[in-house]
């Protein structure tokens, strides 16, 4: 087949055939090589977490992609076009000035106003030393209760927004917590301390993408709603009455429930 | 000097004794396959009995037709295991390169190609009778008549020893030709106008099978009987509505087309 091998001689058929074949083979190889190289580059430049998040975001049902301004009742209906990263949202300013229409309420849970909330059920609290403390929010704590194990990143680890922050396990169920912002881990806490990580942000800290104020009740309402739906067996009566207060240690209380799906939907897993 | 080897088979002389088939199988190390049937055996030379449906009987020895033009098997082989030799006009099959796809067999209108459905095997000790000039084919490849070209090689060697480039015609005779007790199969160079085959091929009694397909087979048949000549085509030109009467007497089944 190749010139110089076993009495090869050129004919029109060979030229045509070989050029087509070589072109096809090259294109396939180049495509594969490009994808591999770009993957390597993305991994090296830390774009991986973002890409993963975008992939995950793309698979969210539309109901889960509601804009924070809808949660706060500033607009009737809006789906987030920006993968929940309001820092780069061109329309953020347009809606931010509108007045929220949602009553502030926390459904009996503890959501202090000094913090910023991530849809992965973490909070972020600016510390005086310029770092940010990160912890699980009350709903997550009520669901998980006391985790069996906690696996925290070492100090100095770079973590990415929406990337994995730390891992916990409860009742043989692994829970991976998404990072609410990017930065370097400077200290690690734990369930006892009330916070899990202290991060030094990369560059100028910008928390615009995190929920706060009137957005929180709207978001919590949806989360509770969904949790109820998910934990309700199709053939059983509702076990979590509307308006009730989420019990603490729900995972222990309802060991038979589909926690795999519930936790994933509750965003605790990247 | 290019040769174009061909045969002229006189169907009026062939009595269907089968000597050509045995001689061919012996010459070409065709294995005896205990489980082979008439449709899975290897018969590079095969004699077909035919009848005109009345008392007329003929036997048609069919080796590979060595098609000269648009050679169906050569065109379709995906990996050049079949070649039309330019110096001799012999269509040769190279079993060692064949992958056994059998596309050439479907392409051949003469069914002159045979697949090795079984491993070649001989009763213990009988390998000693294998002809040293011909390599045994393995299972899973296609083979066919190649005009005993091991004999051509021997003739070339002999000529070369004498310092000649041209072989003596008498030194190269395929096994079937040599074995025919009635001399029905004649062999020679069709390019040599004086050769017996070339002369026979030009007679009005000469015909080739399925010549209208345009494959230019180099095996000519001759017969003085019109019904035998009509076997050449399924439908002789000019009488398209009349099916050729001859039918095969295959396996006792008689079918009228």
């Amino acid at each position: 087949m190749f010139p110089g091998v076993d009495g090869f001689h050129w004919t029109f058929g060979h030229i045509f055939f070989l050029s087509v074949f070589v072109a096809v083979a090259l294109t396939i190889l180049v495509t594969l090589a490009l994808a591999t190289l770009r993957t390597a580059r993305d991994l090296r430049t830390g774009k991986a977490a973002g890409i993963c998040w975008h992939a995950d975001f793309g698979e969210l049902p539309e109901a889960e992609r509601r804009c924070r301004h809808e949660l706060a009742g500033r607009v009737e209906h809006r789906t987030c076009p920006n993968a929940f990263d309001c820092r780069s949202c061109p329309d953020y300013a347009r809606f931010a000035d509108l007045a929220p229409t949602v009553e502030p309420r926390t459904y009996g849970m503890n959501y202090p106003g000094d913090r910023f909330y991530h849809r992965g059920h973490t909070w972020v609290r600016p510390e005086t030393d310029g770092t940010f403390a990160v912890g699980l929010d009350d709903m997550a704590e009520r669901i998980v209760g006391k985790p069996d194990t906690v696996e925290l990143p070492a100090a100095g680890t770079e973590i990415e927004l929406q990337g994995p922050a730390w891992k916990m396990s409860k009742n043989r169920q692994t829970i991976r917590v998404r990072a609410p912002l990017e930065g370097t881990v400077v200290a690690t806490g734990g369930a006892g301390q009330g916070w899990y990580l202290k991060l030094r942000p990369r560059g100028q800290a910008n928390l615009r993408h995190l929920l706060r104020g009137a957005e929180v009740p709207g978001w919590l309402a949806g989360e509770l709603d969904r949790l109820q739906l998910q934990l309700t067996q199709p053939d059983s009566s509702p076990s979590l009455a509307d308006g009730g207060i989420l019990v603490s240690g729900l995972m222990d209380a309802m060991p038979k429930a589909d926690w795999d799906a519930a936790l994933a939907a509750t965003f605790l897993e990247p | 000097m290019k040769a174009r080897y061909g045969m002229a088979i006189d169907l009026d002389r062939c009595t269907g004794c089968g000597a050509c088939m045995v001689a061919c199988a012996s010459e070409n190390n065709v294995p005896r396959l205990p489980k082979a049937t008439e449709r899975t055996g290897i018969t590079p030379m095969l004699v077909h009995p035919v009848s005109d449906g009345k008392t007329g009987v003929a036997f048609i020895p069919m080796p590979c037709m060595q098609c000269e033009d648009e050679t169906p098997c050569v065109k379709v082989c995906p990996q050049q295991a079949v070649e039309l030799d330019r110096a001799t006009g012999i269509v040769m099959q190279m079993p060692q390169r064949c992958l056994g796809c059998r596309y050439c067999m479907t392409a051949c209108p003469y069914h002159s190609r045979y697949f090795n459905w079984w491993d070649p095997a001989w009763p213990a000790g009988m390998e000693r009778t294998l002809n040293p000039g011909v390599a045994v084919r393995m299972r899973g490849v296609v083979e066919k008549c190649n005009m005993c070209h091991a004999r051509l090689h021997a003739a070339e060697d002999k000529a070369a020893e004498a310092g000649k480039r041209q072989i003596e015609a008498a030194d190269y005779v395929p096994a079937c030709v040599e074995s025919c007790p009635t001399g029905a199969i004649r062999f020679g160079d069709l390019n040599d106008g004086a050769s017996e085959v070339a002369k026979a091929s030009r007679t009005p009694e000469a015909f080739r099978l399925l010549a209208r397909l345009g494959t230019e087979p180099k095996i000519y048949y001759t017969s003085k009987r019109a019904w035998v000549r009509a076997l050449a085509e399924r439908h002789p030109a000019g009488e398209p509505s009349q099916p050729a009467a001859p039918v095969a007497a295959g396996g006792g089944e008689v079918k009228h087309g």
């Binding site: - | 088939m21 001989w122 000790g125 000693r128 000039g133 074995s179 007790p181 009635t182």
Partner: protein
């Protein structure tokens, strides 16, 4: 430094990448492809020098001249010997594959006693015992050989009956022997000079007598012609191969060949188409025609066709006195193109059919066809190279196979010319012994094969007639000694005597013979019987429908 998993991956990546720049993948690919092309486990032909030897085929009595291609000391191909006076360069389909016969699965490898393995010693002891108790018979399949001399001599010395099985061709000549006293082995058909041949069921184109002899003649003088130089008229109830290609095929009722022969003779004499006078068939033409299923007119026109172009000869498939009588009427006995007396031949021994009753033992030579079973109640010592299927033999004794032993080949049956050849062993015969050697070991006075062949050579040499064909053709008179003749024959030469001449045979009918039980060989191999089919011929049977020849009778 402990390598991490990541390090191992990096190392593996480097290894894989680096391998591409070494010969490993490419050379291994090349070698594996060579391996896959050669399939090292398939049988390989032996390598070695190729040489060609001349010999004679000993499968059947027809003694076709044969070229044997030998490689690495084994025969690897057979072909006809061009210029052979009788077989004329042809071999039958079985002959082309005969060199494989010795490895046939049913080859006899050691003596068997009623199916149980035994030894030559036991067989010899048993035969000695039987010989002592008597009476015994020794049956030969091909008379006139050196081995026959040994068998006959042994029989004579020990009071045994020496009997012989005859081929269909010899049986067909039986009536002439009875009428003229000339043994069948001295009679032959002068086919080469006949211009009309009427065959009563003889499979002329199917290997009758010597396969190449008639087929060559037919293809040269008759094939494809509507007015052939040689007219072949085939009388047969089915359309055999011969009937299909005959000039005329006379489709008679089964078993009515004698009637047709008689009717033809009657027409010939009544219409004075022949000069012969003598006894006539008692029945009228019409009565006879009724038996054959043919119209009387057909028979009359056939009779005219017979004498239209002479010489004419009638050939029967077996012992058919009516056909022989027709030959007498046609004047074909002792005439050119008819039945001739030639040189050579031996006195016909007792035919095997004549044996009957109770005997102590029967020894059967390996040349006797399997289906010949003497009608005697005796302990049977059967020599054979191959199992012939079921057998009633008590002792099966392995004889040398094809081309494994020294043997001579006398004139084939029905030949018009006398020939003599010798087949020397081209292969080793392990553990086998032919009947002549077996008997010679019991009684050395019976003599050896070599001596008998040499004696025959001596006789030919002293007669000084004929000549040798083969590697170096020359007349017998040109040879220096009888030993030279022996040597030349051993190298594959064939001695050819003089052809029979007209006039040496005279036959007058006393009365018209009655109808005979026709012994008609109908098949390809029935003239003689192959012990087993050569593997390639067996393959042919299975893989082509050739042997199921068109057999139709539409007349």
């Amino acid at each position: 430094m402990i390598p991490t998993r990541r390090d191992l991956f990096a190392w593996g990546g480097g290894l894989a990448g680096g391998m591409l720049f070494t010969p490993v993948p490419w050379k291994v690919l090349d070698d594996v492809s060579i391996w896959s092309q050669n399939w090292p486990w398939i049988p390989q032909p032996a390598r070695g020098p190729v040489e060609e030897k001349l010999s004679s085929c000993t499968l059947c009595p027809n003694a076709c001249g044969m070229r044997v291609r030998m490689a690495a000391g084994s025969p690897v191909g057979l072909s006809g010997m061009a210029g052979h006076p009788v077989s004329r360069g042809a071999l039958c389909p079985l002959g082309f594959g005969a060199h494989q016969l010795n490895w046939h699965p049913s080859r006899l490898r050691n003596p068997l006693h009623r199916g149980r393995k035994t030894s030559w010693e036991e067989a010899t002891a048993a035969f000695r015992k039987a010989l002592g108790e008597g009476p015994i018979a020794i049956i030969d399949g091909r008379t006139g050989r050196a081995a026959s001399t040994v068998l006959e001599r042994f029989a004579a010395a020990h009071g045994a009956t020496y009997a012989a099985a005859r081929t269909a061709e010899e049986k067909a000549l039986g009536p002439y022997q009875r009428w003229t006293g000339v043994p069948t082995s001295s009679l032959g058909y002068d086919l080469e000079n006949a211009r009309t041949i009427v065959s009563f069921g003889a499979p002329l184109l199917d290997g009758w007598a010597t396969p190449g002899r008639f087929t060559r003649l037919w293809s040269e003088r008759a094939a494809g012609s509507s007015n052939p130089a040689l007219r072949l008229i085939q009388v047969e109830p089915v359309q055999s191969r011969t009937a299909a290609f005959a000039w005329r095929w006379v489709n008679v009722r089964m078993g009515s060949e004698s009637a047709l022969a008689s009717a033809l003779a009657r027409v010939l004499m009544e219409e004075r188409l022949v000069t012969a006078r003598g006894p006539m068939p008692s029945e009228s033409v019409n009565e006879l025609a009724g038996k054959t299923g043919l119209a009387a007119e057909t028979i009359q026109s056939l009779a005219r066709a017979l004498v239209e172009r002479g010489p004419v000869v009638a050939i029967s498939a077996g012992d058919n006195p009516s056909v022989a009588a027709l030959n007498v009427v046609l004047g074909a006995v002792g005439a050119r193109g008819g039945i001739l007396r030639r040189g050579g031949g031996t006195k016909s021994p007792v035919p095997v059919e004549a044996l009957s009753g109770r005997m102590r033992a029967v020894l059967i030579d390996s040349t006797v066809p399997w289906e010949v079973r003497p009608n005697v109640d005796a302990e049977v010592f059967r020599f054979a190279a191959w199992h012939g299927g079921t057998t009633t033999a008590d002792w099966l004794l392995p004889a040398p196979g094809f081309l494994e032993a020294l043997t001579d080949v006398p004139t084939p049956p029905a030949s018009a010319i006398e020939t003599y050849a010798v087949a020397t062993p081209l292969m080793a015969a392990e553990g086998s012994k032919d009947a002549a050697r077996f008997l010679a070991e019991i009684d050395p006075a019976a003599g050896s094969l070599e001596d008998a062949i040499k004696a025959r050579c001596e006789a030919i040499y002293h007669a000084g007639k004929g000549g040798l064909i083969g590697p170096e053709p020359q007349p017998v008179k040109g040879l220096a000694s009888a030993d030279k003749l022996y040597e030349a024959l051993g190298n594959g030469a064939v001695w050819t005597g003089e052809a029979g001449t007209p006039g040496g045979l005279r036959c007058d009918l006393k009365e018209w013979p009655g109808p005979s039980a026709m012994e008609s060989p109908a098949g390809w191999t029935d003239g003689w019987t192959a012990p087993v089919l050569p593997p390639l011929a067996a393959k042919l049977y299975r893989e082509s429908d050739l042997r199921q020849a068109p057999a139709r009778s539409d007349v």
